[in-house]
């Protein structure tokens, strides 16, 4: 395929946009190998060396290894719980046509109206009253609750695209309600499930305020988002170390995003063919 001159402006725009995205990424990665003096004096210069000193300092000082494990544990269990609750809820609401179902769906949508910060104090009181303050368990139970509105609303929309005939055919083959969800709706809603997983993973992994207050600063329990700011000192932050620590904590996000994004695209394509 040949591109004529009329494509030049489009190419220029696309490449400019790509550079615009790459410059902060380059600055971020380059800073992870620099000292404060290099970062501030020559922000866009290449690092003098590519030694991993900043990374090892960040990893050991903030105990990032354990923090990543804690984050992974909280995030993965919370994701499983979210799906376990949102899938049946969305399935029921998507197939129901009554007024009550419509009202319940609206209740889920109302969840978007609650600002995160406004719920902090009641959530803290709940954690203290249940004896789960300073535990990861509370966050594992709490995060799915915050994710339910978005997850249910997204999954309902996907499930409504499944033709009724598919369910009727399964029923004629003797499928139970659970089997219909398991064998008809869930496979056909994989793009939606992947979307919900991806969005919630990013939210759960990056959650800071509640993790800070509820789980607390104990290195044995704290998540990576709570561990990372301990690298910032009031008097004289080493930004090279802080940036290196940030890079380390972003690696799991990058891996999950890459894997799920591919799955999501595959599911979208296969779903289209099936339909």
């Amino acid at each position: 395929m040949k591109f004529g001159k009329r494509w030049i402006p489009a190419h220029l725009l696309v490449w400019s946009y790509a550079v615009l995205l790459l410059v902060p990424l380059y600055y971020f990665l380059a800073s992870a190998f620099k000292s404060n003096e290099e970062i501030f004096a020559h922000p866009f210069a290449l690092p003098d060396s590519f030694g991993l000193g900043n990374f090892s300092t960040a990893f050991s000082s903030a105990d990032l290894g354990l923090a990543v494990v804690n984050s992974a544990l909280v995030t993965s269990v919370a994701l499983v719980l979210t799906l376990a609750l949102a899938l049946p809820a969305a399935f029921a609401l998507a197939r129901s046509t009554g007024r009550l179902a419509s009202a319940v769906e609206k209740v889920f949508s109302l969840g978007f109206l609650i600002p995160t910060f406004a719920a902090l104090f009641p959530t803290f009181l709940l954690a203290a009253a249940t004896g789960l303050f300073h535990t990861r368990t509370f966050m594992v139970l709490f995060l799915p609750a915050t994710a339910m509105p978005l997850s249910v609303v997204i999954l309902i929309q996907f499930m409504r695209t499944v033709p009724r005939e598919m369910e009727e055919a399964a029923r004629m083959d003797g499928a139970s309600t659970y089997a219909v969800l398991r064998h008809v709706y869930a496979p056909m809603c994989l793009p939606g499930i992947a979307t919900v997983l991806l969005l919630n993973f990013l939210t759960f992994w990056n959650e800071y305020l509640y993790s800070l207050v509820i789980i607390g600063p104990d290195p044995a329990q704290r998540t990576v988002q709570v561990a990372l700011p301990t690298l910032k000192a009031i008097t004289g932050t080493d930004y090279g170390v802080l940036t290196a620590g940030t890079v380390l904590t972003l690696v799991p996000v990058w891996i999950v995003y890459t894997v799920l994004q591919r799955r999501m695209q595959q599911a979208l394509v296969s779903g289209a063919v099936k339909m």
Binding site: N36, E37, I39, F40, A41, T57, S61, A62, L73, V74, V77, V80, A84, F124, A127, A128, L132, F133, H134, T135, R136, T137, F138, V140, A170, D173, G174, A175, Y178, A179, R182, H183, L212, V213, G216, P217, D218, P219, A220, Q221, P229, T230, L231, K232, A233, I234, T235, G236, T237, D238, Y239, V241
Partner: protein, 427 residues
């Protein structure tokens, strides 16, 4: 229909299994929940422990303490700026740590009043530690009702650092002692492409320098009144603001200081982009040897008619103290052991010699590896002293004062607007 390997019964069993194995691991038996109430575990909440100045020395001290007290476990919890918030919520849930190491500023000013921490005056005397503390530090940590808020520990000198090599290169032979000399020096430095005074106009470093300059014409009592009440209408305060505006508009400060922070300030000075900074001990300890060897420390230049007779510096004895929580009083024997250890001469001297920290505790040790810190300690009565307003500013006014500072360092903002911004911070 093809049968699935995952049946409803299987799914339920897997779910129950997952819940049974992960939830206990996530809660009760994990470290903090178990150790908070454990009588053999002392929980210390600190800003030291990662990369903050003095952290390495502190962690070594903790290791020594553990080795000397094998029956007593010490858990060190670390937070940065958010320590006060985390401690307060933990206290509300009655799960607060036993000892907190933090400065007297902003939220912590109210802790003794609201019972978040206890008066430690009795403990200080019972444990015979009073003689170990500098009298100025005791005074600074004692509140209006004669309660000692915490055991004083870190102090700081806050002099002005002058890069003599850069001044010499610009033809400035004497360290400026007056405002006029400083303005002339700034012009010469700018002519050589060097920024004169670098300052974090967008954070606490700018706030402190602004307070120091405003106090040029204020006595200590007047300064205390101004910063407690937010009334900057007195003659001395207005003269001080005028002096600040004159310096600022004469180009004394680096370009666009209203956008800079303490980190950019330190970097500009340490990379010799700027010749002068007002820096506390921990910042002086970070000055590289190649810069430190031709750097002098002194005071901030005065204007004609100033109430001080010598250039001023700031000093603070409230940088870090050991606060004892209500939970800590239940383990007071462990707290006593810890405090006695931290006040011991060898522990105190390690902070001075290894980390270049100034202490609020008596010690004969000198910061030989940190010449600028030692030089600042030796300034003594060669300089005047301005009041550090931290203890007097109401907590609600602290953040607005930083915003007002940024406005104040913006070139062209009139003295009247600077005063209005400062006073608005208290409303």
């Amino acid at each position: 229909m093809r049968s699935s390997p995952l049946t409803r019964r299987g799914l339920l069993a897997a779910g129950c299994g997952l819940a049974a194995t992960t939830l206990p691991a996530l809660s009760g038996c994990s470290a903090l929940a178990a150790s908070e109430g454990a009588p053999d575990t002392l929980v210390v909440h600190s800003q030291l422990g990662t990369t903050a100045p003095g952290s390495a020395t502190y962690l070594r001290a903790l290791d020594r303490f553990r080795a000397e007290n094998p029956g007593l476990k010490v858990k060190n919890l670390v937070n940065g700026d958010d320590l006060a918030q985390v401690y307060e919520t933990a206290r509300l849930a009655r799960k607060e740590p036993d000892v907190v190491m933090v400065n007297l500023y902003d939220k912590t000013l109210a802790w003794t009043d609201v019972g978040a921490t206890v008066d430690v005056k009795g403990y200080l005397d019972d444990w015979g530690l009073r003689e170990r503390v500098l009298p100025q530090a005791l005074a600074a940590w004692t509140d209006g009702r004669d309660r000692l808020r915490a055991f004083p520990y870190f102090a700081t000198n806050w002099p002005v650092a002058y890069n003599r090599a850069l001044l010499d290169r610009a033809g400035v032979t004497e360290i400026p002692a007056t405002g006029d000399e400083l303005i002339r020096a700034a012009r010469k430095l700018r002519a050589k492409g060097t920024a004169p005074v670098t300052v974090g106009g967008n954070d606490w470093t700018g706030q402190k320098l602004l307070a120091q300059i405003i106090q040029t014409f204020l006595t200590e009592d007047e300064a205390r009144h101004a910063y407690s009440s937010g009334d900057f209408g007195s003659r001395g305060a207005r003269q001080g603001i005028d002096y600040f505006v004159e310096l600022r508009d004469s180009g004394v400060f680096t370009d666009k200081p209203q956008g800079l922070t303490s980190d950019s300030m330190m970097t500009q000075f340490n990379t010799q982009t700027a010749a002068i900074e007002s820096a506390m001990s921990s910042a002086l300890a970070e000055v590289p040897e190649r810069v430190a060897r031709h750097t002098d420390v002194g005071g901030w230049p005065l204007a004609d008619g100033a109430v001080h007779d010598k250039p001023t510096i700031l000093r603070s004895y409230t940088l870090i103290g050991f606060w004892v929580s209500p939970n800590g009083t239940k383990k007071i024997d462990a707290v006593e052991k810890f405090l006695r250890f931290m006040y011991r001469a060898d522990t105190v001297s390690a902070f001075i010699t290894e980390s270049g920290r100034d202490m609020a505790v008596r010690s004969d040790a000198l910061s030989t590896d940190f010449p600028l810190v030692a030089a600042a300690q030796r300034l003594g009565s060669d300089v005047g002293q301005a009041l550090l307003p931290d203890v007097y500013v109401p907590p609600t006014a602290n953040q607005p004062l930083i915003t007002a500072t940024s406005t104040s360092f913006t070139r062209g903002v009139s003295a009247a607007r600077v005063r209005a911004a400062l006073e608005a911070a208290y409303r």
